[in-house]
């Protein structure tokens, strides 16, 4: 059955390849070379589907080629709005949560080390709340997502400089089973 479909698709592809767009007809050839045998008809190779080479039903959340494998959103100093460069990421996760109503997510907001630890919990919360709001606007359900803050307590980078602080001003999206 699968073979038949593949063959049909292949035939269609061959047909499409041969078709020429209207108005772009190739000029008729005037020269005939009897000495040359007609070129053999090339068959398109069968597209092979191999389920043995990678784990079956790999989660798109773990596929490094899938945007869903990216989980972090970074912020400017003292900001919590989602920058344009992270919109496609948030949209992809919003779509995934909408389409997988059983999926649960924990969003951990983080802040850089400057200032009060407790106030920084507030800043991180603002960040995770803003991601949650965006995801629910995209169709995720409120009860699928918990937004929390780790403040400045779990830095990924520990140098005392802006380069590091930028990495620590971050929201991380974790799915059920990952935390």
């Amino acid at each position: 059955m699968r073979l038949a479909i593949v063959a049909t698709l292949a035939a269609a592809a061959v047909a499409a390849g041969c078709a020429t767009a209207p108005g772009e007809q190739a000029p008729a050839s005037v020269e005939e070379r009897a000495a040359k045998p007609p070129a053999a008809v090339e068959t398109k190779p069968i597209a092979r589907v191999d389920l043995t080479s990678k784990p079956a039903a790999a989660s798109p959340l773990k596929d490094p080629n899938n945007i869903l494998s990216r989980r972090s959103i970074f912020y400017d100093f003292d900001k919590f709005d989602i920058k344009d460069e992270f919109r496609p990421l948030v949209e992809a996760h919003g779509k995934y949560l909408r389409e997988n109503p059983g999926a649960k997510m924990l969003i951990q907001g983080n802040a850089d080390e400057r200032g009060s630890r407790e106030y920084n919990i507030g800043l991180g919360q603002r960040r995770s709340d803003s991601v949650k709001r965006a995801l629910t606007l995209l169709g995720a359900k409120d009860n699928q997502i918990e937004s929390v803050s780790l403040g400045e307590e779990k830095p990924v980078c520990t140098e005392h400089a802006e380069e590091c602080w930028a990495k620590n001003r971050r929201s991380d999206m974790l799915y059920g089973g990952e935390y």
Binding site: L106, G115, S116, E118, G122, R126, K154
Partner: protein
């Protein structure tokens, strides 16, 4: 010659490296600045004190000197050694420039315990200011010495001493977080909680038996109340979202906490067992770091409702918040002095996070530290000193500063980052 010196230095370096860290890696205290006139006090060795191990009189002297108000005089061995029962030769002590004098003795009791007696004298007025006798076991030497220092301090300054109180703080060692309890002088450190996840915001219950704190062991901040005697831990706030910033009401019956359960960070009240939750603040801003006033009527807190984080206060019964700090763009972590007259907080001053004091009666602000990454100021229960966390050479240390800014001390711990200090209450 040069080679020899280098070798010697290298050898010394190795010897130092091989020296094992001190047992318990306790805090050591270094006085980095002292106030002006300090009262000279002579504390003669108590005959018989060598039987108790660590010298009682040396702990008393160190306590008093650490306050910044006293200078311990060198007292050479005297013969016969004077005790609290001797008649005092005031003229002789005056000639040693002592304003005050402590004499005492230690005796072994038939039951294996010890008796320490002492008496305090005003050398200038030539009068006894009283004395006490304590019976104790060998393990109680430090506690007894701190009580003697408290007695001396109170008689000579008119204020209660804090040498018998305890402090809590968090040490980060590698990937471990330790919630430590120590004597006010940093000795006798004991871990109440050890975790692979951060611990912040320890707050003593008014009776000194419990600590409320925030632990991240469940991948999010959750507020616990931890009983220090039996190690029992109660979750008091683990709502959806973040739970943090616990503060005790003065009677110990309630806690104020910051919760994000209704979106944002807002201040709630609940009973100390976690029941009877009600929301206190209602804003679209970050409202956090609540603290009760001593009369239990007000909550001081940090809020950025005006655009920058500032300190506000509002009645516990509910009502309109009033702004308290006005100078500067970043004023956080309000801490009221025990007498309620002064507010300590952290201010961003020319790029430096420093401890500021606001006199609530005349609105004057004074910055009392010269470090640049100060956090978590905590008043001693007599209001004289403020313990705080700061960073020196990239490492977290505790520092203490007198509330007039004149006396400064540094408390450092071997091989660890120290933060989140909280000075415990008086223990009766």
């Amino acid at each position: 010659m040069q080679v020899l010196l280098t070798r010697l230095r290298a050898l010394l370096g190795i010897v130092l490296l091989l020296t094992p860290p001190l047992a318990g890696a306790q805090l050591s205290i270094e006085i980095t600045g002292a106030g002006a006139p300090r009262m000279p006090i002579a504390i003669a060795s108590f005959p018989g004190e060598e039987a108790l191990g660590p010298g009682v009189t040396s702990i008393v002297r160190a306590d008093l000197e650490r306050s910044g108000l006293f200078r311990g005089l060198e007292v050479p061995p005297l013969s016969p050694a004077p005790t609290e029962a001797s008649s005092v030769n005031y003229a002789e002590w005056r000639s040693r420039l002592a304003d005050a004098l402590v004499l005492g003795s230690v005796a072994a009791r038939p039951d294996g315990r010890y008796e320490v007696r002492f008496r305090l004298y005003d050398v200038v007025k030539q009068a006894s200011l009283g004395g006490i006798a304590y019976t104790l076991s060998k393990e109680q030497v430090r506690a007894t010495a701190h009580r003697i220092a408290d007695f001396v301090y109170e008689k000579l300054t008119g204020e209660k001493g804090v040498f018998s109180t305890r402090i809590a703080y968090v040490v980060k060692r590698g990937n471990r977080f330790e919630l430590q309890i120590a004597d006010a002088d940093g000795a006798g450190e004991e871990a109440a909680l050890v975790s692979f996840e951060p611990i912040i915001s320890p707050a003593w219950s008014p009776d000194g038996r419990k600590l409320a704190y925030v632990s991240f062991e469940n991948k999010k901040p959750v507020v616990y109340v931890h009983s220090l005697l039996d190690g029992k831990r109660n979750v008091v706030a683990n709502f959806r979202g973040s739970n943090s910033a616990p503060a005790w009401s003065p009677d110990g019956s309630k806690l104020a906490v910051t919760l994000s359960r209704e979106g944002g960070s807002q201040i709630f009240l609940l009973n100390a067992d976690g029941s009877n939750l009600r929301r206190l603040t209602s804003s679209a801003a970050i409202d956090t770091e609540p603290r009760f006033s001593g009369d239990g009527q007000w909550i001081y807190f940090t809020s950025d409702r005006g655009g920058t984080p500032q300190i506000y206060r509002m009645p516990v019964a509910g009502g309109e918040p009033q702004r308290v700090t006005f100078e500067g763009s970043y004023n956080v972590t309000p801490r009221l002095s025990p007498d309620g007259k002064t507010l300590a907080y952290i201010t961003l001053n020319e790029g430096k996070f420093q401890v500021a004091l606001l006199d609530l009666s005349n609105r004057q602000v004074q910055i009392i530290t010269d470090s640049d990454r100060d956090e978590s100021p905590s008043f001693a229960p007599n209001g004289r000193m403020i313990l705080l966390a700061t960073v020196i050479d990239g490492r977290g240390v505790l520092s203490a500063v007198s509330s007039d800014g004149r006396v400064k001390q540094r408390l450092s711990v071997t091989a660890g980052d120290v933060r989140e200090p909280a000075w415990g209450p008086f223990i009766e």
